[in-house]
């Protein structure tokens, strides 16, 4: 993940120019090389910029017509904005995870094509015409709905929510392990959902008074299941079919997904086909073997559904080193499963002193919130941290404070404060500090 690997795509002339400069810089030694890569523009003072004085191809020739891309894709110069996986984590890709490139994104909405994926049996390719949703168990009338039925219900709503996998940061419990915010914090996305409240469907079937738990199940080859307490089901859970204005992506549960705002991503069952009402939780594999938090004394917390407040600086970060001295924009994301983000503080000296960051855009409950600190960098080493606070008064803890309560084997719910070491040449590393 070195700085050189991340050289952006360049025009034909740009490549020639960079090659020439790199040659000259190499002759001048390693330090100069690093600088040339970081800030090539500086090496041609006083000379007119050929990107201005030359007429560019795109300025002369016609571009592709409107039929070229019936469904548009990002610019071909944005090849780095992709999901990536950590191959050694799992035996195969069907039960695996990849990560959202949060270091390449801005604002609060995650584009559909780069929302991280976690599947337990691959992506189910479900024909919506053959998809059914069943509600049964402790109800007055067990029901079956088609997709058309669901889309005819009154009370359709739109809500933006973050979805974070409880294992986000799970590889970092024992110490800094992965050099990239995509890998340490990228099991998260934040999109606008369209659907109807789960409550609407429960009302339609009529929940019996002893109905206290809801089992949700997917139609995939893992037949994913989780138990949800009825209070949450009646509060803000949604049955959704659209994300960011278009149909759910197959890898996000097309044609139907349950949204469980603020709670761990595993509960947001994709390819939702069955809702059962019962009087006790079901102790499914995903709420016993997995998604329980093993403590140092050998006991384990279960039903740890809520995602605690958390934040991270996405720029600079190992995949996004600092390239310029002088004015720079530090940027990051904050979120909480308990409410809205009320404040984010940032430190550049490893947590000794803090300043409050500027939040821009909405700071909605259970939704990603974007923060910035505009700063001047004089080339000194930085230890960058961010610390989120939410509307319940919860303050994101340090990793050591978390470890004190939970030990090192929890895997899940690691919301400790992240430290990035920015070195004098701009390179940025994942570190732990005293």
């Amino acid at each position: 993940m070195s700085v050189q690997d991340k050289t952006p795509q360049m025009s034909r002339r740009g490549v020639l120019r960079a090659a020439g400069l790199a040659g000259a810089a190499a002759a001048a030694g390693g330090q100069a090389l690093a600088q040339a890569k970081i800030n090539p523009a500086k090496l041609e003072p006083g000379k007119p910029d050929p990107t201005i004085t030359d007429i560019q191809d795109w300025n002369r020739f016609l571009g592709p017509g409107v039929e070229a891309a019936p469904y548009g894709k990002p610019s071909r110069f944005e090849k780095e904005t992709i999901r990536r996986n950590v191959a050694w984590l799992t035996a195969g890709t069907e039960s695996s995870i990849n990560f959202t490139p949060i270091h390449e994104l801005d604002g609060i909405i995650t584009p559909n094509g780069v929302c991280f994926e976690r599947h337990h049996g691959g992506v189910a390719e479900v024909d919506p015409a053959q998809h059914r949703l069943m509600i049964h168990g402790l109800v007055d009338k067990p029901l079956v709905f088609t997709m058309d039925d669901l889309k005819r219900f009154p009370g359709r709503i739109n809500r933006p929510y973050f979805l974070e996998c409880a294992a986000n940061g799970g590889m970092e419990w024992k110490g800094a392990q992965l050099n990239g915010v995509q890998f340490t914090h990228g099991m998260i996305h934040n999109v606008w959902y369209t659907g109807i409240p789960l409550k609407t469907l429960l009302n339609e079937a009529g929940v019996k008074p002893n109905g206290k738990w809801v089992l949700v199940e997917g139609a995939d080859s893992a037949a994913m299941t989780r138990s949800i307490p009825i209070e949450k089901a009646l509060d803000d859970c949604l049955v959704t079919w659209a994300m960011n204005g278009e149909a759910l992506r197959a890898e996000q549960g097309y044609p139907l997904r349950i949204v469980v705002p603020g709670w761990e991503g595993n509960m947001w069952v994709k390819w939702l086909r069955r809702i059962e009402i019962g009087d006790q939780p079901w102790a499914q594999r995903e709420e016993t073997s997995k998604y329980t938090d093993l403590l140092a004394d050998g006991r384990a917390r279960r039903h740890t559904w809520v995602m605690d407040a958390k934040s991270v600086v996405t720029n600079p970060s190992p995949q996004k080193p600092l390239k310029h001295k002088g004015p720079n924009v530090l940027s990051g994301l904050a979120w909480s499963g308990r409410g809205a983000i009320t404040r984010v503080d940032v430190s550049i000296d490893g947590g000794k002193n803090w300043q409050t960051a500027r939040i821009d855009g909405p700071a909605l409950p259970l939704c990603l919130t974007r923060f910035y600190v505009d700063f001047d960098w004089n080339g000194q080493e930085l230890m960058v941290q961010s610390r989120a606070m939410d509307s319940t008064g919860y303050v994101q803890p340090t990793k050591d404070a978390l470890r004190k309560v939970r030990g090192l084997n929890s895997i899940y719910h690691n919301n400790g404060i992240q430290t990035w070491l920015v070195r004098a040449n701009g390179e940025t590393e994942n570190v732990e500090i005293s």
Partner: protein
């Protein structure tokens, strides 16, 4: 539309506009069950055969367990044929596939091994999960008796039941799992109460802040070649 219009009007929520009814559902306070509101009348009754086909979950007390049974011995044969290629002949796992057997007494150690025997609180979970999701890539291919047998074998390998044990819908809710008592409900709001605090802003640390660990040293970021085995 007429039934819908009538219902909406009955609840005093509708505005009739060019022959179309617009209804606004009242928003109940967070956490409170919704008041009983009118049914919309969408969907159809689920048939008993349909519910039976999909309702395959089994609860810790055995509720939902289908009639059937299987022995440890039968389970061993099935496991070797259908499961061992990934999970190993003894459930010890091949490569990075999940380990299913062993790990007793490891939960407090540096590298705890969480298996059906060492960690899972309920036997029903193994039956339920194998029945719904295994063998990986060929889910729902085993008969209920076969799932009972394989589950019995896994429990036996984990020294939870004897060699002559027969697992059935009668006794699956009664199997005592070694780690059953270790689970407790989320207590973060009390155990971690100190995270609700007034944060320090100035001079929060004394002395020099030092780097104590670096991801670079471990070097397992995806563009590097090797990586440790994690869960």
């Amino acid at each position: 539309m007429s039934k819908f219009l009538k219902l909406s009007l009955a609840f005093g929520l509708a505005t009739a506009l060019s022959g179309v009814a617009f209804s606004q559902a009242p928003k109940p306070a967070a956490g409170k069950p919704a008041a009983v509101t009118a049914k919309v009348g969408l969907g159809r009754a689920a048939l008993p055969e349909e519910i039976k086909a999909w309702d395959i979950d089994v609860r810790p007390d055995g509720t939902g367990a289908p009639v059937g049974k299987g022995t440890v011995k039968q389970g061993e044969e099935l496991f070797l044929a259908q499961c061992a290629s990934c999970h190993g002949e003894f459930g010890e796992a091949v490569g990075r596939w999940p380990v299913l057997v062993g790990g007793r007494g490891s939960l407090k150690h540096d590298n705890p091994e969480k298996t059906v025997g060492s960690y899972w609180p309920d036997a029903s979970t193994a039956f339920d999960y194998i029945r719904r999701a295994m063998p990986f890539g060929n889910a729902r291919s085993l008969s209920d008796d076969e799932v009972y047998a394989i589950t019995a074998f896994l429990l036996n390998m984990n020294e939870v039941v004897k060699d002559d044990f027969v697992l059935s819908n009668e006794n699956i809710g009664k199997v005592k799992m070694p780690n059953a008592g270790a689970f407790f409900d989320d207590d973060r709001t009390t155990a971690e109460k100190h995270f609700w605090t007034a944060p320090c802003m100035k001079n929060c640390k004394t002395g020099e802040v030092k780097v104590t660990g670096r991801a670079r040293v471990i070097d397992v970021t995806p563009d590097s070649k090797t990586g440790p085995k994690v869960e």
